[in-house]
């Protein structure tokens, strides 16, 4: 006969006891609502993943919602270019916590074959990314694997506050590798107020760390 926990005396047998984090993570990981930020070729594979043959619904992530307010997983599928990046950042900021980001394909992760003047060389320089999917474009199976891995990650390290990822340091390190020619001829952010705000915050963060 199992030893009885004195604190649980009196509970019926079919009651499970666990940590609140684990319960929240279990709920979160099995109902990911993706926000398809599909810009290019990977978007077609993203559609294929959701369509009949590969059927993302098997992993509880089929509810594609196009409103960032309703989603908790952003799938950036395809290259992000200079004109698009402020839009990407804006949409990321519009999503509610907890939220995750999958960078799907070589272009979103590193710029891929497009090492040109307009293409951002990896979105993780500018927004936090949880999963990278290699491939140009990745097969639907790879994307499904990334979602499964993300589910593992959520189950393992998620906290109820959703502040478990230390991506700030990693992003800054990667950004430091980039040479930025001065003076810059372009003020690329479409929203100067937001940009000033973010720049001030970035300075404050650098001063702290």
């Amino acid at each position: 006969m199992a030893m009885k926990d004195p604190g649980l005396e009196g509970l019926p047998e079919n009651v499970m006891v666990g940590k609140l984090d684990a319960l929240a993570n279990w709920c979160r990981k099995n109902s990911l609502w993706p926000m398809p930020f599909a810009t290019a070729c990977c978007g077609i594979e993203l559609m294929a993943t959701g369509a009949s043959k590969h059927d993302l619904a098997r992993f509880g992530a089929e509810v594609f919602r196009f409103s960032p307010r309703q989603c908790d997983l952003m799938i950036v599928a395809g290259r992000v270019v200079m004109k698009m990046l402020p839009v990407l950042q804006r949409i990321w900021q519009q999503m509610h916590e907890p939220k995750w980001c999958i960078s799907m394909g070589a272009c979103a992760s590193t710029g891929g074959v497009f090492d040109t003047y307009a293409v951002v060389q990896g979105i993780d320089r500018f927004i936090p990314v949880d999963m990278y999917v290699p491939g140009c474009p990745p097969r639907p199976e790879q994307l499904i694997q990334a979602i499964i891995d993300l589910q593992d990650k959520i189950q393992r390290e998620g906290t109820i506050t959703g502040r478990e990822f230390d991506t700030a340091g990693r992003q800054l390190r990667k950004r430091a590798l980039v040479e930025i020619a001065a003076p810059l001829s372009i003020d690329a952010s479409r929203n100067p107020v937001l940009q000033r705000e973010l720049a001030a915050e970035a300075d404050a963060f650098l001063a702290r760390s």
Binding site: A40, V87, V113, A118, P137
Partner: protein
């Protein structure tokens, strides 16, 4: 005492808002929007639900394709063309190397011509499936989209067997193909030719006479024939308006002159006509594939070593001096093949319209300038003309029927 009069009394209209234009409502549509499929942006001026004006904006996927074309060799650049119109990459591959071969003056082998014809037509089918599927999706017919996507998977499977990649194929090479077509592929295409008409019939039965779909697309986004020519429309968009131009007939490239097929045209010029033209074109494409498949000539797929562009096969490399030299020169970084210091334009009838490349050669293996003539730009530019006076819900129907692919639009 009623509240309403006092309320109206307190509200004063500002001076500027007294003109009728100031009551228009401005709606930003995109660049991230489910119905734009990719990254387009529209700024719509609405009067109630009616669109008074639309200002399309592009460039949200501009990745410098033409600049990168000046830095990659003629064979390398084919990987970039895959990512141009990514719902029919094979057609882009064929278009690019067709342009290069016109510049170099290469006559392809008969086998290569026929194989390229087959894959270009399969690409057209897969493109139209997605385009019509998306029109269905945007107007509320999700099942239709799933039917289309299932057949696209079959075509992906054929391409994967053919060249190892689902849809960024990079299958063509200068003067040939990356590999020959195997009997297994022929068998798969044969099965597809047999099974596809059934699906096509199902799809037509689902949507062609569907009341909701017809109501939402008929008479919407009408493009007249004169406008179509004036605004540079090509492909199914122009043919739905009564322009009979089809480069497969008018400038028969590859092996199109040998096959019996019809150019599908309509005269209405609305979204429904564009849908019908695409549906009918899939049947014609299937006819071309069926004819080509049973008569693939034997022989090599690459041009001979005297053309000095395609790598010679191993037997020639090991047994003849010409083969060895040719292989060596092609593999060396500073030799490669000779390109005339000349300029040519060559186009094919891509699924979306006339897809051409204006190439400037300067003697190197790399193009001096690789200008792509994308059909989508001209189609997107005419969007305000098509949508004026229609309702907001028609925006997605018109956008879908124009089949604007942002990567090809912005390059």
């Amino acid at each position: 005492m009623s509240i309403a009069p006092s309320r109206t009394a307190t509200v004063e209209l500002p001076e500027a808002a007294t003109r009728s234009e100031d009551y228009l409502w401005t709606l930003n549509f995109g660049p991230q929007h489910p119905a734009t499929h990719t990254t387009l942006r529209l700024v719509l001026k609405l009067e109630g639900e009616r669109v008074v004006d639309a200002m399309p904006e592009m460039g949200y996927l501009h990745s410098g394709f033409e600049k990168i074309g000046e830095h990659l060799t003629y064979n390398q650049y084919v990987t970039v063309t895959d990512r141009m119109n990514y719902i029919s990459p094979m057609a882009n591959n064929v278009a690019w190397h067709h342009a290069v071969e016109v510049l170099l003056g290469i006559e392809l082998t008969p086998r290569c011509k026929v194989i390229r014809t087959i894959i270009a037509e399969l690409a057209r089918i897969s493109d139209h499936l997605l385009c019509n599927g998306a029109v269905g999706l945007d107007t509320g017919a999700f099942t239709f989209f799933l039917y289309g996507f299932y057949q696209r998977e079959v075509i992906y499977d054929i391409f994967e067997t053919l060249c190892g990649a689902r849809f960024t194929n990079s299958y063509t090479r200068v003067g040939g193909l990356s590999q020959d077509m195997t009997p297994l592929v022929v068998e798969k295409i044969r099965t597809f030719v047999k099974t596809f008409p059934k699906t096509l019939e199902d799809m037509e039965r689902l949507l062609t006479r569907n009341r909701i779909f017809v109501d939402r697309t008929k008479g919407v986004g009408v493009l007249t024939k004169e406008e179509a020519i004036d605004r540079g429309a090509t492909g199914p968009v122009a043919r739905a308006s009564g322009v009979t131009r089809d480069l497969r007939k008018d400038e028969p490239y590859l092996a199109y002159a040998d096959y019996d097929f019809q150019v599908c045209c309509a005269t209405a010029g609305d979204c429904y006509a564009r849908y019908l033209v695409r549906m009918q074109e899939m049947r014609e494409s299937l006819r071309i594939v069926a004819q080509a498949l049973e008569n693939i000539p034997a022989g090599p797929v690459d041009v001979g070593i005297d053309q000095r562009t395609a790598k010679p096969d191993k037997k020639q490399v090991y047994s003849t001096i010409e083969g060895t030299i040719s292989h060596f020169e092609l593999a060396m970084s500073n030799r490669g093949f000779e390109v005339p210091c000349e300029e040519t334009y060559a186009a094919i009838e891509a699924p979306n319209g006339e897809l051409g490349f204006y190439l400037v050669g300067d003697g190197n293996e790399t193009a001096y300038r690789a200008r792509c003539r994308p059909p989508s730009v001209l189609h997107f530019a005419m969007f305000p003309q098509l949508i004026r006076g229609h309702t907001l819900s028609d925006v997605v129907a018109v956008l879908g029927s124009l089949n604007i692919i942002a990567a090809e639009l912005d390059r």
